[in-house]
Symmetry: C2
Subunit: 621 residues, 2 copies
Amino acid sequence: MDAAQEAQRREAFRHLVLNALERRLFFIPSFKIYRGVAGLYDYGPPGCAVKANVLAFWRQHFVLEENMLEVDCPCVTPEVVLKASGHVDKFTDLMVKDEKTGACYRADHLLKDYCKEKLEIDPKLTEEKATELRHVLAMLDDLSSEELGAKIKEYGITAPDTKNHLSDPYPFNLMFQTSIGPSGASTGYMRPETAQGIFVNFKDLYYYNGNKLPFAAAQIGQAFRNEISPRQGLLRVREFTLAEIEHFVDPDDKSHPKFAEVSKLEFLMFPREDQVSGRQAKRIVIGDAVSQGIVNNETLGYFIGRVYLFLTLLGIDKDRLRFRQHLANEMAHYAADCWDAEIECSYGWIECVGIADRSAYDLHAHTDKSGVELVAHEKYAEPKEVEKLVITPVKKDLGLAFKGNQKMVVEALLAMEEKEAMELKATLEEKLEAEFRVCTLDKVVTIKKNMVSISKEIKKEHQRTFTPSVIEPSFGIGRIIYCLYEHSFYTRASKDGDEQLNVFRFPPLVAPIKCTVFPLVQNQQYEEVARSIARSLTAVGISYKIDITGTSIGKRYARTDELGVPFAITVDSTTSVTVRERDSKQQIRVDVDKVASLMKEVTDGVSTWPDVLWKYPSHSS
Amino acid sequence: MDAAQEAQRREAFRHLVLNALERRLFFIPSFKIYRGVAGLYDYGPPGCAVKANVLAFWRQHFVLEENMLEVDCPCVTPEVVLKASGHVDKFTDLMVKDEKTGACYRADHLLKDYCKEKLEIDPKLTEEKATELRHVLAMLDDLSSEELGAKIKEYGITAPDTKNHLSDPYPFNLMFQTSIGPSGASTGYMRPETAQGIFVNFKDLYYYNGNKLPFAAAQIGQAFRNEISPRQGLLRVREFTLAEIEHFVDPDDKSHPKFAEVSKLEFLMFPREDQVSGRQAKRIVIGDAVSQGIVNNETLGYFIGRVYLFLTLLGIDKDRLRFRQHLANEMAHYAADCWDAEIECSYGWIECVGIADRSAYDLHAHTDKSGVELVAHEKYAEPKEVEKLVITPVKKDLGLAFKGNQKMVVEALLAMEEKEAMELKATLEEKLEAEFRVCTLDKVVTIKKNMVSISKEIKKEHQRTFTPSVIEPSFGIGRIIYCLYEHSFYTRASKDGDEQLNVFRFPPLVAPIKCTVFPLVQNQQYEEVARSIARSLTAVGISYKIDITGTSIGKRYARTDELGVPFAITVDSTTSVTVRERDSKQQIRVDVDKVASLMKEVTDGVSTWPDVLWKYPSHSS
């Protein structure tokens, strides 16, 4: 199959899936009766149940299993917090405007579309030009505003809808802005991620954890990005649910006590070097990846392994899941290492979970901005002797010399790093005075030997104080769910062969409804049995759908297969019932009074279908 | 105890509770290291767990039990939706500004504070004046902007902080406003309630339910109110979690098939009449309240009963819970009836759940604004003959007479109600012409007999089309949780009697952590047993806290009592352990390999503590 055919096949498949999802209300374009809003979607009843199941499993798999400290912070966030984190200044995309209509576009999207289209459909394209366009595509994320603007001019790219000229690219901040309180004086934003709420609480959480490292905090909640022009349907939206973990660890010891539990897992990894040299992702044992230094440390490796287990247990196809390491130019300067769990779907490989070692960046940033020290301590078994720089300004002499500026000079002296201080000391000893730059005064002053004493002293320290590193697995829940839909979807012929029927092969863990209850025919006795089974299911906490319409049993199966319901209970006698499994269509007979507990067993994962298959008599319809 | 002493006692109690809650991180003032933002709070780890438990139980008790259709809609909402719902025009509080500093206050709060203070502390107050102030307090919610302004002037009320003059009151909209998309042209708001997301989806949800009524949809999510100056701590906040149910029902039949299941419940109710005539709330059987017409209909009564069960099962004290009916002046004009579940806490009686019959208001409003019919149909068993008004404009003659205005005249004719149409018909028959007002032209035109035919015809109808009524139970989750904290809190003397220890008596359902695991003394064998018990607890999904510090067992109990942990497992042998219940402090001995399943039994509610007490040998410490 060539690339164009493959693209067509993918699009046709996506169309089938989206059609089933929208018809069965897995999702609904938000505010549809008002013609909707781009990038906003509702979860309808089955979608909402899938989401609740995914989040419950996330809590079980991460929060409960690791004793994480879960918090729940508001979405409305004051400006100072997002100033400290860098979002106010840097959380932008480059935008161009149609010069006549004012319509807005993402500059990189227009350039990307232009290059792709040229490469695909222009038969007159020279090999030289093709190489250039491919180079632009590869460099897209690295282009500056000026470079993007120059390329758009050079290629004569115009507004897609009107062919009008475009403005130069300029940064547009992706946060939804609002105002907190009635005065209008206090700017706020809807948070673009949940992580900041955890960082600002570090001090309290560390205390809650008995002042011990490592520990992890977690948060599930809404995040917001005011996308310039959302594309890719359910994958690029303006409001979404994030589940984030911030694991705080001593930067000098990133080992993980439970690493052995995942170290033997093998899965597709795509290290930086293989990407650069044009190789493919390959299967690597995570233990080897850590020991060979491909993955920076054990804690990062542990989380990669746990994410792999989480996604595959949900039903993500392990052959279409890979962990891709960020290239040097993708990664923030402070990050030690970063891996994305990417899932392949009809849109290509999609980043669904980011697992980053962010070093001490975030805690440093909030310490600087708030003045509150976000640090950890390690008590030494015995006090240690350390050499410490001691700077003692002589305030009397400084006061005489600098009067009102004395305070600024003193602060500048105390702020010196070791190297600068020792150089100043040497100059003072040699020449008795030295030139010294005071940034806050924006001038150079003369310091005399009597004004400051600088020395190194041996001091006893009882503890080490340090800023913890943070390892952050961050889950885009909506993206995971969308990929899960695609990986779970298949079609099969109807019994008479004249129709293709849709099925979602959700595992019971994820399925929006665990079973259906059908009386085989409309009759009061069967209906009563069905209702009593329904009551027992509610009592054990199993969600079900009861269908007492007279529709044919085949149609009723087809309807629930399309909702991904794993088990169907057909009431065809008053003492025992038929239980059918969705994918194999195998059927067994079970006593009426045992069926609820059987459903609990197979949906809780205590037993699998093959486990129960040999325990009960089979039934052929 | 007089009123002042009682107020002091309440405040002291609240102080104790808040102190425990904040110290143990049930809540944290949001963005604390930046000095916080009024009205925003985080749930810390135990608070977050309590919230997750309350929401999980809500889903079980309402959504699963009633087969409700749960949806999940975005917080960002376009203006048109909230214009239709009335929030853009009417969701306001009256505000006054300090004329010099610009500081903002809620006008009614200032007047309320003034009246209360005068009544409490002014010894020279005449009886006449006191009566007036009490009257103002009673009427507070009914005062118009002008009346509020006049009272503030009359009493000489000034800005509390500066004593400066205040502006006249003016309405301030409580929604957080933002802009959707990059152009700035599309106004959006953070939703003030979750209900609108359900109403706009009515058509799809009705279809999903097989075009059958009644059915209920539900939503849990964040809502936002930009309060002018938040007071009352955790009770009046700017962002909060709502859980809302919209139960759609035929307005001609508001019976409920499961009403018998709650009809015998008896609890404190406070009907409108008793409030007006100054009586107290009294215990009423809900079945009687419905049959005597105190509660408008069975469905409303059913939900009142279910809400009572929900709150008391969570641990709300039934003697400090009442259902108060809205007075006529509190209720929206369209509402058929409305009851608030009010819980008494140190702030007084607090509205925590509103249960309203909103009639067809919301669906009508969105039908009008969107042009999409949000209606239901009832098929008749046999077609019915009905008399129908038929208006047939004669377009040719109207066109000749009105030319460009023809369309507006035709629309106005077709829009006539039956009474107006029959009057016009009579006039035309008598006088051959009639004056007719066309609103859209803002003028009166002359209609001649030949221009329109009006008649009544017998038509066969196969179905009835109607707008469903909606009954809305709406839960303020944060308020319920805060009241639960107060109702669960008590203190008791420490063993040596020299200290008062805090305890939260949460039922296992709500408790943030279900049990703790302590080795009695620090030793490797006990620690291993503790860790193996911890693993079994994780496997059965029970949250626990392990404490291997050498702290005395009494201190460790005290710490976990203050978190409301119901059970403590003390490892004091390698084969069996001691299990202690928090409130009774009773202890039993349980085999190591049975303790996890016992914990599951007592926390899932399969058994109670008294159930297990006689099954296991007791242990005296």
